[in-house]
């Protein structure tokens, strides 16, 4: 019976926390005295008279392509950066290290402003290009460090075995090291991607049409900020929920053979 006690303690603690949350929410909403109306949002999804997507769908599309493009480019940067940090010479390592430290230790918002107002104007880049470039570099900086850590902690044994069988370094990397590293990398990779989807909301400050920008436009038109932001939060949640579950599913599929 000794083992029963801690588990019951956890249950009661959880109930207490949930109750506190529920009461605060209920009190908050009753005290608000606000006339909720979600129905008006319909028009922002689809404009019936012109048969075109509304602000919300336009924004969602913006968020999707900005995120996907930044994830793809950021992953490429991260892979390259991680490999250089792991295996490069001291000059290239220092260069990548500087890049990583700058992009990890400054706010993305500042990076966006610098990219858009300083660099983009010099190279005649559009706001979209500047936004995707910033997010890709930001994501790439984090991934570089992740890839480096994964490579450094990887067991050298299977790689030695591959080399000892006469495979070239490239063949060993392609057939043994990469698949093993990817399996290790998967959970933190998905975490980074989820972060990036949320951070993509920041590109609204350089007036790229994406979900957050659309939401503020919708608020400006309808004066109903509560409903709009709630809906937007739900959409971000659904996107990231799907993304992390897809990640977990791939992870399971890949490592099923490792932990069976």
């Amino acid at each position: 019976m000794l083992e029963e006690r801690p588990s019951k303690l956890w249950t009661w603690a959880t109930v207490l926390v949930l109750l506190t949350l529920a009461i605060s929410l209920w009190k908050g909403f009753t005290a608000l005295d606000y006339d909720w109306d979600f129905l008006f949002l319909r028009d922002f999804f689809w404009i019936a008279e012109s048969s075109t997507p509304g602000l919300l769908l336009q924004g969602l599309w913006g968020t999707l392509w900005v995120s996907v493009l930044s994830i793809v480019l950021g992953s490429a940067i991260g892979l390259l950066g991680g490999i250089v940090l792991h295996a490069g010479n001291s000059f290239s390592r220092t260069a990548v290290r500087c890049f990583v430290e700058i992009f990890r230790n400054t706010p993305v918002l500042v990076q966006l402003y610098v990219m858009y107002f300083v660099i983009a104007s010099a190279f005649h880049m559009t706001a979209e290009q500047a936004g995707v470039a910033t997010l890709s570099l930001f994501c790439g900086a984090y991934l570089s460090e992740l890839v480096r850590g994964t490579l450094a902690n990887l067991d050298r044994g299977p790689q030695d075995a591959a080399l000892s069988l006469g495979l070239t370094r490239w063949q060993a990397a392609r057939h043994v090291t990469a698949p093993l590293a990817l399996r290790r990398l998967m959970p933190s990779l998905v975490g980074q991607y989820v972060s990036l989807v949320k951070d993509s909301s920041l590109v609204s400050v350089i007036s790229i049409v994406e979900l957050t920008k659309s939401a503020s436009n919708m608020v400006a038109v309808s004066f109903r900020s509560f409903e709009v932001w709630f809906l937007v939060a739900v959409i971000y949640f659904v996107m990231n929920f799907l993304l992390s579950h897809a990640g977990r599913w791939i992870e399971k599929k890949m490592s099923g053979d490792l932990h069976a």
Binding site: G157, A162, S164, G166, R183, D257, L258, A260
Partner: protein, 251 residues
């Protein structure tokens, strides 16, 4: 093609030093060693004596600081094309080092497919035959984690044989095995030895060393302390260091 007069392995005054906290440690201290084609040679000695490092320099998994190594007459050392030499050698590791993401058959078939450019069917056919040879034909679709240590090591031996090496390097092939699994692996290595394969074996199994090898090298502190025919070396050790080492094994 094969010239029997060319030694399989020639190491001339090979040294290797590690840099640890500013101080240089000599892992190999002027090691000179010869393996004739078709011979089986064992390397013995206490742990940390350099015998495993010596074995790993033969196929270039460890670089050397000075000296010369020739494998079938081909010189190499610090050069980056060690993989050319690795095409004559294959290796068995203490901790098996199977590819954890591939099943037993795929483990064996990988190098024939990637390196020898065999078709998928051909590579898997060879893998099947080899798996049967090591007595594991029923375990082809199992992943390394699902196999016992002894089974993993047998798959590793099949994987090494799949690239048709001229020299098989064995790095303490039974040290990580439970005692009851050791004999299976040693029997299998004896079978391989009986095919005329050139082998260099690092081992702590003195009975096995006596059974398979004609020549034996005793390592201590990175140096070859004593060498000679295995029977004589183990039966009548000359140096006090080897005598203490052999006595410690019998305790």
């Amino acid at each position: 093609m094969r010239d029997n007069n060319t030694p399989a392995v020639e190491m001339k005054s090979v040294s290797k030093s590690f840099q640890t906290k500013g101080a240089a440690t000599l892992a190999l201290d002027h090691v000179t060693l010869d393996v004739a084609a078709g011979d089986i040679v064992t390397l013995i000695g206490p742990s940390g004596s350099g015998k495993s490092t010596c074995l790993r320099t033969i196929n270039g998994l460890e670089t050397i600081s000075s000296g010369e190594i020739r494998v079938f007459g081909k010189p190499y050392g610090r050069s980056k094309d060690a993989f050319l030499v690795r095409r004559d050698t294959a290796m068995i590791f203490q901790r098996f080092e199977l590819f954890p993401h591939l099943n037993a058959l795929e483990n064996i078939a990988l190098a024939p497919r990637v390196r020898l450019g065999k078709s998928k069917e051909e590579a898997f056919e060879t893998a099947h035959a080899l798996l049967k040879k090591v007595g594991l034909e029923a375990h082809g679709s199992k992943f390394p984690r699902m196999l016992s240590g002894g089974q993993q090591q047998r798959v590793a031996i099949a994987r090494a044989l799949a690239v048709q090496p001229r020299i098989l390097l064995c790095d303490e092939p039974t040290s990580a095995l439970d005692p009851e699994l050791v004999d299976d692996v040693l029997e299998l290595l004896k079978t391989v030895a009986s095919t005329g394969m050139t082998m260099v074996i690092v081992t702590h199994e003195m009975r096995f060393a006596r059974d398979v090898s004609k020549k034996c090298y005793f390592f201590d502190a990175g140096r070859i302390v004593e060498t000679g025919p295995t029977d004589a070396l183990l039966g009548h050790p000359q140096s006090p260091r080897l005598r203490t080492f052999l006595a410690s094994l019998h305790r």
